[in-house]
Structures are given as structure tokens and as C-alpha cells.
């Protein structure tokens, strides 16, 4: 545990990857992600790794596929339009059961959208935008420190479950600077007996995603989902703040959850029993914890920088027992005052 450093969110992701022993990065420039690429282009050669600037995000994700198949710790990062281009490759990586980390520094969309902060790729990653039956672990950090810590966690989960992990950042977190502590982790070499590294005396290792006989495909998908069940049982994460006696619970993740916390504090100071529930894993969604947190609540407010893409998961978690309002801004992070005013107005009507 070293000294406190001031780091930009995007650089923190890059350094987190280095700490996690990731030595390969393939990417393509896009604002507001580009500093991850620039940081690793400089850092990876220093630590004996390789950086390739791909000709597109399609190529980048397929380079990730190859490097992961070859048994390496590997990452790519992009922002919303680039992540769209990666969807086919992500489906292949999930099916081939390769560990990989994909960072999405989400920006305004649809289309070219803009370079504002956004959370509008929730459905794309949490519901899986590629073809077929698969799941992605999706982590939602809310500070520069967590960008480092969760990058490391993403590699550990990817390795443990041999599955792609998506790390959500956004146009604000990627660009903001905060003090961080660089963690030290032990980097014991990982055994990957399945990797295609050249036979060297063993029988051939094959990494593929084609199962022509229906039974083979069925068994493959069932086996994937047995793994996803295990992930869902073990890896749901959340944090909560003042939910025990809360009548109104704000549900929010990532950058907006920080602002929402300040709004909840303001509400408490003004006599409104508000609380905050923050999903840390978006898949698996911490549904049971939310259901429990909401036991005494009368209203939930979903706060997002999207048209409410997480709201369906919130409703499902509580079996649609309570109203779930949406407070959102598109293209910018709401202020604590704005969220507080919304809480106040809803408190007047509902409570």
C-alpha cells in the first residue's frame, strides 16, 4: 500500500490492469475512453507486454479473443459506439469461455450521440447485445479508486469463471481526477491448461464455438448457464445507505449513485426518510438484497443517465410490489439538488 496519488479515471483503469497482471491491450481511439489506450500504449512495453492499436473495435475484440485463447490476461476498452461493434466478438468470447475484460466508458447515444457521460448501455451489456444465450458479468464502479479496484476484480472474476467481464465507466468518471491508493496484489501465475499455446507434447487444445448437432449445442448452452447460475449465487454485490427505515429508496449505480447519496443526505436533513441502494454488479443484479432493502419502503426512485434501462430489473427484484419512479438526465450527471427536489416532490405526493 503506497502513497496517495492523484489519478484520472481512465488512467486508473490502465494502472489497475497493470496491477492485475494484464499484459495485453487491443483498442481503438474514441472519446472519452482514449486515455486508457494512451496510458497502456506507454505502460505495457515498460512491463514486457504488448499494445496493438487495432484498425477497428471489431478487430480489437477479435485480437482479445486470440490473446485470451493463447492464455494471456487481456483487456480492451472503448466507448458506446465501439462497444456496439464488439458485440459479435463478445458473444464468441462468452461461448468459447475465454477470460477477458471489456471496459465501456459510456458516452451519449444513440448514434454518434456525443461525448457526455451516459449510462445508456445498460441493456446492451446487462441483457447482452450480441447473439445467443450468454451472460456477462457487469461491474459498476463509482469512484476513481473503484475503477482501479474493480478492474482488478474484473480480471479475477474473468479468470475464475472463464467468462468476459464488462467494467462500466462513463464520460465523467473517465475524465475526473481523484486521490487513489494503488493496491498491491499477489500475482501468482495462473494455470490455463485449456489454452491454445502449441501442444508441446499434449493432445490438441481446440477453442471453438460451433456445435452443429442440436444436442451438442444444447449441452454447451446448458453448461454455460450452469456456470452463470453459480456466478449469480456467488457474485451479487451492492452497497446501501440508510435503507433500514427508509420510506423512499433511491436505486442508482455508478457516477449517479454518488450524487444520489448526497441527495439522500439532504433529504434526511430535511426530515424525509430516504435511503440509497446501489447495485455494484449489474449482472448478476443484487435482486434479493434490493427486495429486502425495500421491505419497509413505499416508493423507489430509479436514478440513471438513461431512459430508465435499469428500471425493469428494479421492478423485477421487488416483484412490482411498489411504484418505481424514474429520475433521469440525458447527457449529464444530475446534481444532488435536482435529485433532492425530485425526492421531495414525490415524498409530498406519496407519503
Amino acid at each position: 500500500m503506497g502513497e496517495l496519488l492523484l489519478m484520472k479515471g481512465n488512467e486508473a483503469v490502465g494502472e489497475g490492469a497493470i496491477i492485475a497482471n494484464c499484459r495485453y491491450f487491443f483498442g481503438y481511439p474514441i472519446t472519452p475512453q482514449t486515455e486508457i489506450l494512451e496510458y497502456l500504449a506507454r505502460r505495457l512495453p515498460e512491463v514486457g507486454g504488448a499494445y496493438v492499436q487495432a484498425e477497428s473495435e471489431i478487430s480489437a475484440i477479435n485480437m482479445v479473443f486470440g490473446a485470451a485463447a493463447a492464455g494471456a490476461r487481456v483487456m480492451t476498452a472503448s466507448s458506446s459506439p465501439g462497444i456496439s461493434l464488439m458485440q459479435e466478438g463478445i458473444s464468441y468470447i462468452a461461448s468459447a469461455e475465454l477470460p477477458a475484460v471489456i471496459v465501456n466508458v459510456m458516452r451519449g447515444s444513440p448514434g454518434l450521440g456525443g461525448i457526455h457521460p451516459s449510462q445508456a448501455d445498460y441493456n446492451q451489456s446487462v441483457k447482452c447485445g450480441g447473439h445467443g444465450d450468454y451472460k456477462l458479468i457487469v461491474l459498476a464502479p463509482a469512484s476513481v479508486q473503484e475503477l482501479i479496484d474493480f478492474t482488478i476484480l474484473a480480471f479475477e472474476l474473468a479468470e475464475q469463471y472463464r467468462t468476459p467481464v464488462v467494467l462500466f465507466s462513463d464520460g465523467m468518471m473517465g475524465q475526473m481526477m481523484e486521490p487513489v491508493l494503488l493496491p498491491e496484489i499477489n500475482t501468482t501465475p495462473v494455470d490455463r491448461p485449456w489454452a491454445t499455446t502449441g501442444m508441446n507434447g499434449r493432445s490438441p487444445n481446440i477453442i471453438h464455438t460451433l456445435y452443429l448437432p442440436a444436442d451438442d449445442l444444447g449441452n454447451h448452452v446448458k453448461q454455460l448457464f450452469a456456470k452463470y447460475d453459480q456466478i449469480a449465487a456467488n457474485e451479487k454485490r451492492h452497497t446501501q445507505f440508510m435503507v433500514e427505515d427508509a420510506e423512499i429508496i433511491v436505486v442508482s449505480y455508478g457516477i449517479t449513485s454518488r450524487v444520489a447519496k448526497a441527495a439522500v443526505e439532504m433529504a434526511r436533513e430535511n426530515g424525509i426518510k430516504a435511503g440509497l441502494f446501489r447495485p455494484v454488479t449489474l449482472w448478476p443484479f443484487p435482486d434479493k438484497a434490493l427486495k429486502k432493502a425495500a421491505e419497509n419502503a413505499q416508493l423507489l426512485i430509479d436514478v440513471e443517465i438513461s431512459m430508465g434501462q435499469m428500471r425493469d430489473d428494479v421492478r423485477l427484484a421487488i416483484n412490482d410490489r411498489l411504484p418505481v419512479d424514474l429520475y433521469n438526465r440525458i447527457g449529464l450527471v444530475p446534481t444532488p439538488e435536482e435529485i433532492y427536489e425530485f425526492i421531495k416532490s414525490r415524498a409530498r405526493e406519496v407519503l
Binding site: 479473443f65 466478438g89 490438441p204
Partner: protein
Amino acid sequence: MPKGYSRPQTLIDKPWHFCPGCNHGIIHRLCAEVIDEMGLQNQTIGVGSVGCGVFSYEYFNFDGIGPSHGRAPAVATGVKRVLPDRLVFTYQGDGDLAAIGTTEMVHSAVRGENITIIFVNNTLYGMTGGQMAPTTLMGQVTTTTPGGRSRNQAGYPFRVCEMLATMEGAAYIARGAVYNPAQVVKTKKAIKKAFATQMAGLGFSLVEVLSACPTNWGMNPIQALKFVEENMVPVFPLGEFKVTPIEAGV
């Protein structure tokens, strides 16, 4: 008595799924023979493709990867950056390489990526039932050019070797065929040179092989071999387009 001609060690003993008269089997075998002769079975990672060669990893007796349609050179790039001392090659059809995967092919050559592409040109999309490919000949009938490929509708055949040979990152570029034993021998030599170029670290290499598709051409195997020689070779001339001398020699 020792056998004069036997199965290469790197080819698994299993019946091909290819149609009668298809040349994919010969081209697979040539890759396997070369890898045997170079003693690289334990150091090879084969990257397949989506097309009639999709099951290459089921025939080759070495580590294999099945990538998505067209992206084999990107996948091979990822493998090679992690394992720079291994033989990494892709095996791709003309739809896979010269249509959907054009970007990945060109930019592997731009980077001088130290990989080899074995490019099987049969002038159409075999696996999906004989649609036009970028390599379809002028006037050639396919299921999507029922009146023959015309300039106005679909432009001209794509000559991959000629284009790649202009690139500095390309170290070895050659086109061969397998329509008679002499051409088979020449093509094998080209594949060997390409693999040796890679093992010497000289950069990107590609061997295009003109290949018969009797099923989708509506011909018998003999007619199809003749079609390669008489109709394909004039458009896709055989030979070496770029050679970088290898000091240590093959």
C-alpha cells in the same frame, strides 16, 4: 516394407466432410505435410475461419481456434503477440478473407504482423451454397449472379495477392493452384516458404490457392480442375508476388 506415401502426423485420420472433387482436402494436407517437415507440430496454432474450411481444427493434429467469419487475422494477431515464437496461421476462404474480413487481412499486412494466411480462392461462397464472392469471375453464374457477374452490378474480381504485394509489411506473397501434380508441388513449396518466412520473423505472409468447387460450379471434378486452369489462372496468375530472402534458407 516402409510406405512411400502415408498420412502426415499432423493430419488426424478421419474422413473429410468435403464434397467430391473439392480441393480443400489437398490444401489441408499440404499445410500438414509442411508442418511435419518443418517439425512444428508442437509449436503451431491454426486459426480457422467460417466457410467450408470451418472444421480445419477437427482435421489438424495441433492446437486450433475457430474464430468468427472474417476475423481470423485479428485472432491470429492476438495469439502471435502473446506467443511470438509459435507458428500461427489462418486458413480462410475468399468470402471470409476478401469480403467480410478485408480489413483484418489488409491491416495485418500493414502492421507486418508475423503470421501466415492460407487463402483458398474458389470464386464463391461454398458453404452457404454458391453465392457471388469478390473473386467471382466476370460473367460467372452464381446463385446471386444468375445472369453472370456483370460490371454494372458487381464490379470486378478482387486480386488479393497483387494488392498485398504493394505493401511494405508483406514479406512473402504467392499464388498457387492444385489442379495437377506439378502445381501441387509448387504450392507446397510456397506454403513452406511462407511458414519459413514467419519463423524467421520477417513479417506477414500469404499463400493464395486456387481451388475447385465442383458442387457449386455445377461441374464434375475433372471439369472443375480444367475450369481452374483455363478460366481462373488467366484472371489470377500463378507465381510469387513478393519474396523476402530468408538468410537461414529452407
